[in-house]
């Protein structure tokens, strides 16, 4: 992962602590959606960012904490108004530690229920990195940059670079 812009080394603008409960996801989404739009992402883009964060939280609840409702999750948000405006979201937990290489989506060609979350996260975000925390649990770092010329639309001809490589740290190159 390339070093983050200066601001992003500071304490987060917002840091949310929540329990591993599905009923708390909508409030979390509302916050992510609003801060994304505040940074300049349009409604469609902020909807996608919100979806990616939601999928990551669902995975922590389902796989990390095995649906236990007393697990703790921390979401840190840096909303950097620099050029390009950059949203960095870090999710941390005290859940089961897994090899980041095992956090991978299924092949999209097999149409079956499930196995889409990790693919969606990689499709939407510019950087995605899973790691084991020294203090226990996992850390997921996600970065999304705002490109006003529309180059940030990950859907347009985006390669399925993640679907079966199991790569756990991706940085998409793109024209600015």
């Amino acid at each position: 992962m390339t070093p983050a812009p200066g601001h992003l080394h500071n304490p987060p603008d917002l840091k949310l602590q929540l329990f591993s409960q599905a009923r708390l996801l909508s409030s979390t989404r509302a916050m992510v959606s609003t801060i994304s739009q505040r940074l300049g992402f349009n409604e469609a883009q902020s909807g996608q960012i919100t979806l990616a964060v939601d999928e990551a939280l669902c995975n922590i609840i389902n796989h990390g904490y095995d649906r236990r409702t007393d697990g703790q999750i921390w979401m840190s948000i840096w909303a950097d108004e620099g050029n390009p405006p950059t949203l960095k979201i870090v999710l941390e937990d005290l859940a089961r530690q897994v090899d980041p290489k095992l956090i991978r989506s299924r092949k999209l060609e097999e149409i079956r229920p499930g196995g889409l979350g990790v693919f969606i996260i990689h499709e939407i975000m510019d950087e995605v990195a899973y790691e084991q925390r020294a203090e226990g649990g996992m850390r997921l770092t996600m970065v999304k940059r705002l490109f006003r010329d529309g180059a940030s639309d990950c859907r347009s001809g985006a390669p399925q670079q993640q679907s079966d490589s199991g790569c756990h740290c991706t940085e998409k190159s793109r024209a600015t």
Partner: protein
Amino acid sequence: MSIGDSETFEVEVKRLDGITIIRPMGEIDLSHSPTLRIHLREAYKSKPSRLIIDLGAVPYMDSSGVAILVEAMKNTNTNGGKLILCDLQVKVRSIFEIARLDTVFVIAKNPDDAMMK
């Protein structure tokens, strides 16, 4: 209306000669998808020739919702029926596109259109 406008979730079910129309109302996320799943299982067990899922009142869906729709589609097909989604809002369409499922599902503009497909 978008995220935060309503936090309730309900499912309306209508049946008429072999056609079942399911209309979920609210966000289909991890907290609400189990409710939808129960209704969908009920629905494809009665082997409808056509199972229409009207998503006009669904402002948001995550992959737990998509998984349940994939399951419902497979089971409806196995029973010789057809599952049709209709009236997808922008954000909901987006997840189907990202997951490359917009061509796998039959998607109609509205419920009337879904009756024809």
